[in-house]
Amino acid sequence: MRFGIVTFPGSNCDYDAFRAVVDTLGEEAVYLWHKDHDLQGSDVVILPGGFSYGDYLRAGAIARFSPIMREVIAHARRGGPVIGICNGFQIACEAGLLPGALLKNASLKFVSAPVRIRVENSQTRFTSDYDRHQILTIPVAHGDGRYTADDSTLKELEHSGQVVFRYVDSGGDATEAGNPNGSSNNIAGIINREGNVVGLMPHPERALDSLLGSDDGLGFFQSILATVAA
């Protein structure tokens, strides 16, 4: 399977995503340059973390107009899988691939820490390898991760199982104490209605090796291998 990883100016987790695909999954990865118009035959597109365009104006706001995004959006509209991690999630929201928006953390501080998230829906292409309500420890590192959407959108997300991951505390509950950024309903990750575009603030690509603290992100990538036919 071929993963295309977009490099926007200011992306900085493109390398980590690349290593995750190549070293951990043993699959093929290509970098997709933001000025290009070619997905190079990618089966899955990753919008990686970082600070595209310095996060100036709003995180993800400028990146979504990059030339490559036209192709990424078309790929998503065709049902192709797209993963937005951290800045990639912000870009996906700005681009309208996912509903809602990500605001400055409620603490007004950048937050870098391993957090606990609960798998809310294990029936998606990105989570099938997990059990429902499985609790994962995965690092976050962001300044703008407070997920927000209007009430009806939130209701619909909840209703249709589009909330994929939720922040939880050490007891496994979605409390304020477990919420690192003030996200509505403790939302850490969502999926679109069609089930092919996922966005999440935590970094599964940083949780693939217990040497580095956690390998709970493996299931995320393994789900994709199992469910996305190349």
Binding site: L57, G100, A101, L103, K104, N105, A106, R146, T148, A149
Partner: protein, 85 residues
């Protein structure tokens, strides 16, 4: 073509938590500004642009706001002034 200077206010939508406003409000209180009731923090963007007429400049900047400068999910925008330079 005339050069115009258009300024825009972009503010968090009503109902959306504004922790920055709250933080500034708290800080002002602790500095002794006891009369402060509420604070809101938004963005102020000044665009210098060429256009045929003032109306055209305004329409142009409105389009910029809709496409890029403001995110309608979370923000409102308002064109504050348009002046020929």
């Amino acid at each position: 073509m005339t050069a115009f200077r258009v300024s825009v206010h972009i503010t968090p939508r009503r109902g959306i938590l504004d922790p920055q406003g709250k933080a500034v409000e708290g800080a002002l209180h602790s500095l002794g500004f006891a009369g402060v009731k509420e604070v809101h923090v938004g963005r102020y963007i000044v665009v210098e642009t060429d256009a045929e007429t003032q109306n055209a400049a305004e329409a142009e900047v409105k389009a910029m706001c809709e496409r890029l400068l403001a995110n309608p999910v979370i923000e409102d925008f308002e064109i504050e002034s348009v002046a020929a330079r």
